[in-house]
Symmetry: C2
Subunit: 251 residues, 2 copies
DNA sequence: GCCCTGCAATATGTCAGACAATTAACAATT
DNA sequence: AATTGTTAATTGTCTGACATATTGCAGGGC
């Protein structure tokens, strides 16, 4: 590991980069312990707070975890899909909520990607996946569901569908695309009719997957995409009425 | 913003979360300035180093940027696709290189996603996109290209293809899927024949897109996927010969 | 011999105060 | 009017200390 720093740039940033590179290159093995903060401070010839800032940067990227106590320290974290998903959702949510991208573009991307899952899902879905999907469909039909609960169930349904591909990389990408849209979807007021329509399409998807009927699945997915776009028009109309548009803001 | 902290958990982490939520909710507007470190320390009733650790966490996620000087401070950064892509590539590379996922799964996910881009790319590709793709095809045919250069050109070709969808969200996702595989692809030794085969398929893709022929594009993409999987078998065979497998490690 | 308690060691988490470096705005000078 | 100090505000870093958590070991009681 390079330990001489450029005095013109932030030390903590350079130290974080050095350690990060050491992790990526495999110099620091997974679950291996980094030197103690005091050690690192000596090696890089900086103070402990500076080292700590560097470590916090790495911790924020889930590259390391820290543990207190005698045998504690900073350990290289094996990247997990759960953490990566969380990260992805955060990033995607930010991109979508900060007006960087409009509703139509997000919907288009999401359904294009989700459509890509259908062939694999048709071929590999297990009874457990189908059961999850049907459980959500049942939930979506219950009375007294708030819009947010309906949305959450919708997300759960689609995640079950994506998981049916049996490909964690695909699940990881899709989780970002699907979950990040929840704040936008939460702005939609679902009428009883639109709920029924969506639930019917979910039902069609589940049936198509159960029967391995890719054509039917594609059709249902396309219908869902265009229907979601229609509902989105409602959002856009409402947003254009207000001067400042901050989709994610609650107050 | 909530300023009372749970004494059982890390202060710096809680403060980072609070500020992050304030950013996401829109309480702290884009390009807005955060209170000074001293201010934040007073508000949260902690010391300045603790506040700084929190800010470094946020800086590591590209949520804020800091500036020194009289009118300096921490400013909320507008999330950009460039930064998000960089982040995505880093995360995806880590997942792929740390043995969390095998080659076949990564290839399957990548081509499933890329296949999803074809309908949009067929419909929207501009002459500029086609020119980019053809430039890479030409490059791939030149003599004296190293394997790494060939790989880089391959990535550039596919990025051009993805960009042809005109959907930045899609591009963002795909950049992660495509670029993250480069380290793995770099392990492949491309024979003259395999290069020719790949370049031919690229040519077929470009032609199909130029003519808006989705069926042909799908066929070419599928052929590319299965051919890549074949080449990957070579990797697996070579890796199984060595006890420790660290794809990303260079030494 | 075995288990429990208490202490020492080691590490991270936090605090307080100080100084250095950078930058913008303002005042003074030519 | 333009240029040049000067000052104030803010981040970046250092030092030293204390608080807290956790492990391991030693000693005592059973």
């Amino acid at each position: 590991m390079k330990t001489d720093l450029d005095s013109a740039r932030d030390y903590s940033q350079q130290i974080a980069e050095n350690i990060r590179d050491a992790i990526i290159s495999g110099d620091l093995p997974v679950d291996g312990r980094l030197p103690s903060e005091a050690d690192l401070a000596t090696r890089f010839n900086v103070s402990r707070p500076t080292v700590r800032e560097a470590l916090k940067r790495l911790a924020a990227q889930n590259l390391i975890r820290t543990q207190r106590g005698a045998t504690g320290g900073a350990f290289v974290t094996r990247p997990s899909f759960e953490q990566a998903q969380e990260h992805m959702v955060t990033t995607a949510t930010l991109l979508l909520s900060m007006n960087t991208v409009d509703f139509e573009t997000a919907v288009e991307a999401r359904f294009a990607l989700e459509r890509a899952c259908l062939p694999l899902a048709c071929a590999r879905r297990t009874p457990a996946h189908l059961a999850s999907m049907r459980a959500e469909i049942a939930r979506q039909g219950t009375d007294g569901l708030t819009d947010e609960e309906f949305c959450a169930s919708d997300v759960a349904f689609h995640r079950a569908l994506v998981d049916a591909t049996g490909n964690p990389v695909l699940s990881w990408h899709m989780a970002g695309a699907v979950e990040a849209m929840q704040p936008l979807m939460n702005m939609i007021t679902f009428t009883a009719r639109s709920r029924a329509q969506i639930t019917d399409l979910h039902q069609a998807l589940a049936t198509a997957l159960a029967e391995g009927d890719l054509t039917a699945a594609n059709a249902a997915m396309d219908a869902l995409a265009s229907y979601t776009l229609d509902l989105g028009g409602e959002i856009r109309a409402r947003r254009s009425a207000r001067p400042t548009s901050r989709p994610g803001a609650t107050g």
